[in-house]
């Protein structure tokens, strides 16, 4: 609504002191950023232990059949969550390899997209009505 924007008025004299309040904003601000991420760190350092206990308790109370049914779903959750297994390490290595050697492969997946949309070239652009072939009118 109010878009009467005041643009680039005259430069303000550079003598303006940095007020104590500004120092405070900077100090408190940086501290609070740390604080928030520290709290997040503490919580996520705790969560695996809580989840671990909970899962184990639940696991005992469940019968074998139930376990089987959920096998697929919770597979990753059942592994020891504190250490990387061989497969995971392999996957990471593969990802790194992919990253390091084969950038252009990252574009390959779009080939699928291109195939899907190849009918939108100007020759056949649906937006302009590709099927509208003149010769059909003469049949």
């Amino acid at each position: 609504m109010n878009t009467d924007i005041i643009m680039y008025h005259l430069p303000i004299p550079m003598l303006l002191e940095i007020t104590p309040e500004s120092w405070l904003i900077a100090g408190v601000g940086y501290t609070v950023v740390f604080l928030v991420l520290l709290v997040l760190f503490l919580v996520f350092a705790t969560i695996p232990r809580i989840l671990g206990t909970y899962s184990r308790a639940r696991k005992m109370g469940r019968d074998f059949q139930e376990n089987l049914r959920q096998a697929g779903k919770e597979k990753i959750g059942k592994e020891d969550p504190t250490i990387v297994t061989g497969e995971v390490a392999a996957a990471i290595a593969t990802a790194l390899n992919l990253y390091l050697n084969d950038h252009h492969d990252e574009e390959n997946p779009t080939l699928t997209i291109n195939k899907i949309s190849r009918n939108y070239s100007p020759w056949s652009s649906k937006i302009y009505g590709v099927m509208n072939t003149p010769n059909r009118n003469n049949r």
Partner: protein, 384 residues
């Protein structure tokens, strides 16, 4: 003859100034860097072409509705998403839907590196005040050090938007932020080598543990509640970031996450890029302030990088010998996802060709996104 003259008066030639040429060259430069060196092409191509569009000379305020600052022009309508702060949260929604927080969940202590690197924001804030900017303007300039484009646009649209006596600095701040994000591979390595010894750069880190789907689902929910309770004013950004991430991790809303991270974010990126570019119309962009902002921005990236690295070294003082942090990944705390993480990887490989740091560097990298959004929220609380 009169009619021909009238038409000539409308052409770009008749309205040309050298400022236009300078900005057109800048725009061409952006496009060149994006295509030739693939520096942040998804942003530099739209911004670069937007600079060209915004700097075609034309006759202003005669009702043609061409300029981005003229009421009723298409560019002006599309630009409202920038000035009203609507596009950045939508971009964050898409980023949330494409970000995997696994490494952060498995090594939450690395969150602190993402906090440390926000030093650049607050030092730059003080620097901008020293150069004479108003507090609200200084805060908006400081956020360049967050190395996060949408956050920079969001905060400057709230604090340095030409209202309440402030200047409209959205354009220069956005351009500076994106420029330096693209130049991260050039800016960071010298700082990293200066502040670390060869032995430190060789530190090998423990492989991260696997993360359960439960933890991945809990992360955005707990993350929202914790961060937003402490800094509610970061909600427009962090709310959408964590929302997008829950859409990704919930396992039951895949199609929504898919749309958020493809057509939705792409559409917003296209329009945001071209309008931010076009907002650099020479007559409003080529000012001494813009130069100052570019200077402050460069400094802020250096300070932010140093902040992350030094805090990693500080943490190492307290960590057991076999579980130290390679200080190179501290530099990734500036955000600039994923370029600064890549820089850490590359520098690590130079010290030890078998030491892959990428995985570890992603943790402070995404933590830096959260960190700078929180910093923006705090600055908004104080100065909004």
């Amino acid at each position: 003859m009169d009619g021909i003259l009238k038409l000539y008066a409308y052409t770009g030639f008749a309205n040309f100034t050298w400022g236009h040429l300078v900005m057109i060259l800048v725009g061409l430069g952006f496009i060149f860097l994006a295509i030739r060196y693939e520096y942040e092409p998804l942003l530099l191509v739209p911004i670069g072409f937007g600079i060209l569009i915004g700097n075609i000379p034309f006759m202003e305020n005669v009702g043609l509705q061409l300029g981005i600052y003229e009421q009723g022009s298409v560019m002006n309508y599309l630009y409202k998403g920038v000035t009203l702060g609507i596009y950045p949260p939508l971009i964050f929604l898409g980023i949330g839907a494409m970000t995997d927080f696994s490494t952060l969940i498995s090594s939450p202590r690395l969150l602190l590196l993402g906090a440390a690197a926000q030093l650049g924001i607050f030092i730059t804030f003080l620097g901008a005040l020293y150069l004479g900017f108003l507090p609200a303007e200084a805060a908006a300039i400081g956020i360049i050090g967050g190395a996060d484009g949408p956050t920079a646009i969001f905060l400057s649209s709230k604090l340095a938007n030409g209202l309440n006596g402030t200047q409209n600095l959205i354009g220069p701040i956005a351009i500076a932020a994106y420029s330096y994000m693209a130049l991260v591979p050039v800016i960071q390595p010298p700082v990293m080598r200066l502040l670390t010894s060869k032995d430190e750069r060789k530190i090998r880190m423990k492989p991260p543990r696997a993360v359960t789907q439960q933890e991945k689902i809990l992360f955005p929910i707990v993350g929202l509640l914790l961060t937003a309770f402490i800094t509610p004013s970061a909600l427009p950004l962090l709310g959408m970031l964590f929302f997008g991430n829950l859409l990704k991790e919930s396992t039951v809303t895949k199609r929504l996450a898919e749309t958020a991270k493809s057509s939705l974010i792409d559409t917003v990126t296209i329009i945001l890029g071209v309008t931010v570019g076009a907002s650099t119309q020479a007559s409003v962009f080529l000012t001494p302030q813009s130069i100052q902002i570019f200077g402050l921005g460069a400094a802020s990236f250096v300070v932010a990088t140093a902040g992350g690295i030094l805090f990693a070294k500080f943490m190492n003082l307290f960590l057991p010998k076999d579980d130290k942090i390679n200080p190179l990944i501290g530099a990734a705390g500036v955000s600039a996802v994923p370029d600064s993480a890549r820089v850490a990887q590359t520098e690590g490989l130079k010290a030890d060709p078998n030491n892959h740091l990428l995985m570890h560097a992603m943790a402070p990298n995404v933590a830096g996104v959260i960190g700078s959004a929180i910093a923006a929220g705090i600055l908004l609380s104080y100065l909004g």
